[in-house]
C-alpha cells in the first residue's frame, strides 16, 4: 500500500456505524467544494448483469436511466485493470495496467499491479482536478486504494478490512461514501463495493452459494438505496449523473476443476526454469524468462502445451494478438480457462478459491448511466456494446472535459 503522504491533510470523522472514517485530502482542497454538477461512479464488483433484477434499488436506477445490456468487461477481466480502464478511458497497452497480478521483470517477482506509478496515463480524476473540480475515491479494496494513489482530491482508506478477502464491507464503504458527500461534496466520486465479488470468491455451488450470493446482493442493494436516499434527501439528485457498472462478472468452478500450467511446462526440459506465471483467476499470464533467442520457439511450445491441458479455453501469444491491447507488462502468453474451471499454479491446491473471473465467461457486466441530471436519457436501453473504458469518456462528456493527450479509446455513453 502506498502510505499517505505528509503532503495531504487527514480528516477523521465518525461514520454512521460509529467506526472512525479516515479521509486524506490534497493540501488546500476546500472541505466542502461549491459544486452544481455531480457524477458518481459506483462499481458493484463482480456483479453479473442478470443479478440487477434481484436488487430493487439498482433495478430502479437501471430502468430509470440509459441501460447498456450488452456491456462487457475487458481483458484481463480482473478488478484492478478494469477500474483503471474506467478512470483512464483506454486499454492496458496504453494505460499500463493489464492485470491484477503481473510478473515484474525489473523486480524479478510476481506482484500486484497496484502501484500508483503503474498507471501510465492521465486519469479522468486528474483531469477533473485540473479543471478546478474536486474528486473523491471510496474504494473497498486495498489494491484499488493503492493503484489510484493520491490522485483524487479526497480519498478514503478502506477500513475495516475483513480477513482473507482484504476488503471493507459494503456497509462501511457506503458509510465512507456518504460521509465524503457530506464533508467534501466532490464533483466526481468513484466508489467500489466489494461484497458481491468477495462472496463470489468465497463459496462454491448449490444452495450455499445461492444463499450467500443472494444475501450479498440484498446487502449491496440496501447500501445503494442509502446512497440514492442521500442524493435525494440533500437535493443533489437533480444535478447528478450516476454510472453503475461492474468491473467483471463471476464464474464458479468445482473443486477438482483446476488447471496447473506449471506442471505442464516443467515437464519440458527446455521450458522448466525459464518461465514465470502471474495468476489472474481465470487467466494466466505467462512470461518467458529464458534466452531471447529461444523465445519464439518456447512460446509456440507453451501455447501448444496450454491448449492440450484439460480446462484451457484459449491461449494467445500477446504480441501477436493486437486486439487484446494488453501491452508488454502482460508478458508473452495469455491463457484463459473454460467456464467452470480455474488456474491453480504451481499446484492443484495452490488456488482453493472456487469463485473466479478473468476469463471470457466473465465478460458480461451491468452498465447503466442514470441519475436525475437532465444530461441523462431516462428509461431507455441501447444495444451498443459498452465497456468499462467508456466511463472516463462519459464523465468527460458530462463535465465538458476533453481527452488527455494520450487519448481515450472508449466512447461516451451519455
Amino acid at each position: 500500500m502506498t502510505p499517505m503522504t505528509d503532503r495531504r491533510t487527514v480528516l477523521k470523522v465518525a461514520g454512521v456505524s460509529g467506526a472512525t472514517l479516515a479521509f486524506s485530502s490534497k493540501l488546500g482542497a476546500a472541505q466542502a467544494a461549491t459544486t452544481t454538477k455531480r457524477a458518481y461512479v459506483i462499481v458493484v464488483d463482480g456483479c453479473r448483469p442478470g443479478e440487477i433484477d434481484e436488487m430493487a434499488n439498482l433495478k430502479a436506477l437501471r430502468d430509470g436511466g440509459t441501460w447498456y445490456p450488452a456491456a462487457r468487461s475487458l481483458p484481463v477481466m480482473e478488478t484492478i485493470p478494469n477500474h483503471v480502464m474506467m478512470m483512464t478511458g483506454c486499454r492496458p497497452a496504453r494505460n499500463g495496467v493489464p492485470a491484477n497480478s503481473i510478473y515484474d521483470r525489473t523486480d524479478g517477482a510476481v506482484r500486484d499491479c497496484s502501484r500508483p506509478t503503474d498507471i501510465a496515463v492521465t486519469t479522468i480524476i486528474e483531469q477533473l482536478n485540473a479543471s478546478g473540480r474536486t474528486t473523491g475515491t471510496v474504494l473497498s479494496k486495498e489494491y484499488l486504494y493503492s493503484v489510484f494513489g493520491d490522485r483524487a482530491t479526497h480519498r478514503w482508506e478502506p477500513f475495516p478490512l475483513l480477513p482473507i478477502t482484504e476488503h471493507a464491507p459494503d456497509a462501511a464503504t457506503m458509510d465512507a461514501a456518504l460521509t465524503m458527500i457530506d464533508e467534501f461534496d466532490p464533483a466526481m466520486l468513484f466508489v467500489n463495493l466489494g461484497d458481491v465479488d468477495r462472496v463470489g470468491h468465497a463459496d462454491l455451488t448449490g444452495t450455499t452459494l445461492k444463499a450467500a450470493r443472494t444475501a450479498a446482493l440484498a446487502s449491496t442493494n440496501i447500501q445503494v438505496g442509502r446512497f440514492v436516499d442521500k442524493l435525494k434527501s440533500t437535493g443533489r439528485w437533480a444535478s447528478s449523473m450516476v454510472i453503475v457498472l461492474a468491473d467483471h462478472s463471476m464464474d464458479w468452478s468445482l473443486p477438482e476443476q483446476t488447471i496447473s500450467l506449471t506442471s505442464a511446462f516443467d515437464a519440458d526440459a527446455t521450458l522448466t526454469g525459464n518461465f514465470q506465471i502471474a495468476q489472474n483467476g481465470g487467466a494466466d499470464l505467462v512470461y518467458w524468462t529464458g534466452p531471447a533467442s529461444e523465445r519464439s520457439t518456447a512460446l509456440t511450445k507453451m501455447r501448444t502445451l496450454a491448449l492440450a491441458t484439460t480446462g484451457v479455453f484459449q491461449a494467445h501469444v500477446i504480441d501477436q494478438t493486437p486486439s487484446l491491447r494488453l501491452g508488454p507488462k502482460a508478458g508473452d502468453l495469455l491463457v484463459y480457462c473454460k467456464a467452470g474451471w480455474r488456474f491453480s499454479d504451481p499446484g492443484p491446491q495452490s488456488n482453493p478459491i472456487p469463485g473466479n473471473h478473468g476469463h471470457p465467461a466473465t465478460e458480461p457486466i451491468p452498465f447503466f448511466v442514470t441519475g436525475g441530471s437532465a444530461a441523462v436519457r431516462k428509461g431507455i436501453a441501447r444495444s451498443a456494446r459498452a465497456h468499462t473504458m467508456d466511463v472516463a469518456p462519459t464523465l468527460g462528456a458530462y463535465f465538458g472535459v476533453k481527452p488527455p493527450q494520450t487519448g481515450w479509446e472508449g466512447t461516451s455513453r451519455l
Binding site: G50, D53, T205, K210, K338, A339, A381
Partner: protein, 520 residues
C-alpha cells in the same frame, strides 16, 4: 377473386437493408398447371413502389420464366432503402397480380426500437384450416414472419389429418404422398392457393427455414421414416423437394435467389444492432435418429444434428458482436427434455464403473437436439465459455408451446440456475398435438404429462400440449417477449383466436419469466 394468371398470389422474403426477394407464379395458359411442365416461356414485368397505388415505381424489371422452373418468378430486388415499406406487383400482358408489401431491414448500424416477428410452424393442410395464418395476417404491427418449417406436409389423403382418426378436413393434392418434382411442385402450389396463407404472404416478408416435412417425416441426411420400396432414391427425392422449395419460396438458398446454384438454407439476417437471426437446417446434414431413446449413443461425438460446417457457422453467429440479440431460428427443440440424469461431470466416472448412461438422462424425443447431445454440449459450452448473453432459440416442430431456460448442466440446474440462454417454442398452425393424438379433451391428459416433464426438467417453465396457433416475438434492447395466441377448432374455417400466455427474458439474464399480457 384471385387473378387467374397469378392465382398463387405474391410473396416476399429474406429482407435485408437494401434488398428483398419478391415472388409469384404466373399461369400463362390454362394448361400450365403446377408440376405439369406445360406452357410457354414468358416474360413477366415486376414493379416495386413506395406507395400502394404504384404512383412512384422505384424499381422494375423484366424476368423470364417457364416450365423449367414451374413458371415461378423470384427476384432479389436491390437498391432499396433500409427500414422502408415497399409495395410490389407483377404484370403479364394485361394481367396484373395482387400487390404485396414488404419492409426492408433496418441498416446494420442502426438501432431499431424493436423488431416484432410473427412465429409459425407446422401447417398441415389436411389437419384443418389455416386460421392461425389468418389472424396473424390481421395484425399490422409486424416486421416479418418467421417460419420455422413444415410449411408443407408430404402425406397423401388419409395418412395424416385431424385428430386421432386422421380425418382430412381438406385433402392434399396430389392425392398421394409426394415423391417427385412434379408432386412437390403441386403440393407447394396447393398450399399457396390457401387464402389465409396467401394473404399473410402478401402482407409480410417471410423468413423461413425448412424442417422435415418439406421432404419427408423425420428426414436425416440419408433418408426418412416413411420411405418405401419402389419410391425414388432418397437423394433424388430430396433434390426434387429442394428444387420445388427453391422455386416456390421467397428465400435465398446458398445466398441467392437463383435456382440450381445450391441448397444451403442456413443463413443470417440482421436487424440493425438489435438482433441477428441465424436460421438453421437440422435435416440435411444430420445423422440418422436413434431407434432407442435410452441409447447412450445420443451423446456420441461422432453423431451430429448440424454437420460440422454448420455447427462452426452457428458458433460464429453466437459470438458475433454486431448485434445484441442472437436469435436462432431453430427447427427442433434444443432444451433438454429428459427423465432423470446425473451431473455431467459425474457421467464419466459412473460410466467407467457401472456401464453406459445417456449423460443427460433418457430423452423424451431423439429427433430433437436430445438425440445429438454432443452437438448441444458444444453449443452450450461455447455460449458459456465466451460469456455470450442474449442467445435466444426460437423453435417449431413439436406442435406445442414451450418456454425454457437453457441449462449449462441440466442435472445441476435446480441448484445453480446456471443458464446459457433461453428457448421459446411456438405451437403448430394445425398439426396434431398431444390431446389430438390421445383423443382426450384439452387440459385433461396433457396437464399430467406437462407437470411430469416440468418436474423432471426444472428449466422448463411452460408447456402447452393442447393448442394450435401462432406466436408473436417482440425484441427490444431491454427484453425479448413471446406471446402465444391460440385458435379455436381447426375444423372450423372461421375459428377465433385468443391470447394464451406470454413469457419474456430480460436482457443479460439468460432466464425467462412470465408476463401478464401480450405486447399488442
Amino acid at each position: 377473386m384471385p387473378i387467374a394468371q397469378f392465382a398463387h398470389g405474391v410473396a416476399s422474403g429474406d429482407p435485408r437493408p437494401s434488398s428483398v426477394i419478391i415472388w409469384t407464379r404466373v399461369t400463362p395458359t390454362s394448361a400450365s398447371k403446377p408440376g405439369s411442365g406445360v406452357g410457354p416461356d414468358v416474360t413477366v414485368r415486376w414493379q416495386v413502389s413506395t406507395t400502394s397505388t404504384f404512383t412512384s415505381v422505384v424499381r422494375s424489371g423484366d424476368v423470364r420464366t417457364g416450365p423449367a422452373r414451374d413458371h415461378t418468378i423470384k427476384v432479389d430486388v436491390t437498391g432499396l432503402l433500409a427500414d422502408t415499406t415497399y409495395y410490389y406487383r407483377f404484370v403479364y400482358g394485361s394481367a396484373r397480380s395482387a400487390s404485396g408489401r414488404a419492409r426492408t431491414a433496418p441498416g446494420n448500424t442502426s438501432s431499431p426500437a424493436n423488431v416484432r416477428l410473427g412465429v409459425v410452424s407446422c401447417a398441415n393442410y389436411q389437419a384443418g384450416w389455416f386460421s392461425a395464418y389468418r389472424h396473424l395476417g390481421n395484425r399490422n404491427d409486424l416486421h416479418a414472419i418467421l417460419h420455422l418449417g413444415d410449411y408443407i406436409y408430404e402425406y397423401g389423403p388419409g395418412e395424416y389429418g385431424y385428430g386421432q382418426n386422421d380425418v382430412d378436413i381438406r385433402k392434399h393434392s396430389p392425392a398421394h404422398e409426394v415423391l417427385t418434382l412434379a408432386d412437390y411442385r403441386q403440393r407447394h402450389a396447393q398450399y399457396k392457393l390457401d387464402p389465409d396463407l396467401q394473404r399473410l404472404h402478401a402482407k409480410y416478408a417471410f423468413i423461413a427455414t425448412w424442417d422435415d416435412h418439406e421432404v419427408a417425416d423425420d428426414a436425416w441426411k440419408g433418408g426418412a421414416v416413411n420411405e418405401n420400396p419402389g419410391e425414388p432414391a432418397w437423394a433424388t427425392r430430396r433434390a426434387a423437394a429442394y428444387q420445388a422449395y427453391d422455386e416456390w419460396q421467397p428465400v435465398r438458398l446458398s445466398g441467392t435467389a437463383a435456382l440450381g446454384d445450391g441448397t444451403q438454407i442456413y443463413r443470417r439476417l440482421q436487424y440493425g444492432d438489435l438482433v441477428e437471426i441465424s436460421l438453421l437446417d437440422l435435416r440435411t446434414y444430420r445423422d440418422q435418429q436413434l431407434a432407442v431413446q435410452a441409447d447412450p449413443a445420443t451423446a456420441d461425438p461422432d453423431r451430429t444434428i448440424t454437420g460440422r460446417a454448420q455447427l462452426d457457422w452457428l458458433k460464429d453467429s453466437l459470438t458475433r458482436q454486431a448485434t445484441q440479440w442472437k436469435l436462432v431460428g431453430n427447427p427442433v427443440m434444443i432444451s433438454p427434455v429428459t427423465f432423470a440424469g446425473v451431473p455431467r461431470d459425474l457421467v464419466k466416472p459412473i460410466n467407467d464403473t457401472a456401464g453406459l448412461l445417456p449423460p443427460e438422462g433418457v430423452p423424451y424425443n431423439v429427433d430433437q437436439w436430445d438425440g445429438y447431445t454432443d452437438d448441444r454440449r458444444e453449443v452450450f459450452e461455447h455460449l458459456r465459455d465466451n460469456g455470450v448473453t442474449d442467445a435466444l432459440f426460437v423453435t417449431g416442430d413439436i406442435h406445442s408451446g414451450w418456454a425454457a431456460d437453457l441449462p449449462a448442466d441440466k442435472a445441476t440446474y435446480a441448484g445453480t440456475r446456471n443458464s446459457v440462454g433461453v428457448e421459446f417454442v411456438g405451437t403448430s398452425v394445425t398439426s396434431n398435438n398431444l390431446c389430438d393424438i390421445t383423443g382426450t379433451p384439452p387440459r385433461t391428459t396433457s396437464i399430467g404429462v406437462e407437470e411430469i416433464l416440468k418436474a423432471n426438467n426444472p428449466h422448463l417453465k411452460y408447456i402447452d400440449f393442447d393448442d394450435h396457433g401462432f406466436s408473436v416475438l417482440d425484441i427490444t434492447a431491454k427484453r425479448a417477449q413471446m406471446d402465444w395466441f391460440v385458435i379455436g377448432d381447426r375444423a372450423d374455417k372461421n375459428a377465433g383466436v385468443t391470447w394464451s400466455v406470454s413469457w419474456a427474458t430480460t436482457a443479460g439474464s439468460q432466464t425467462i419469466h412470465a408476463v401478464d399480457g401480450p405486447v399488442a
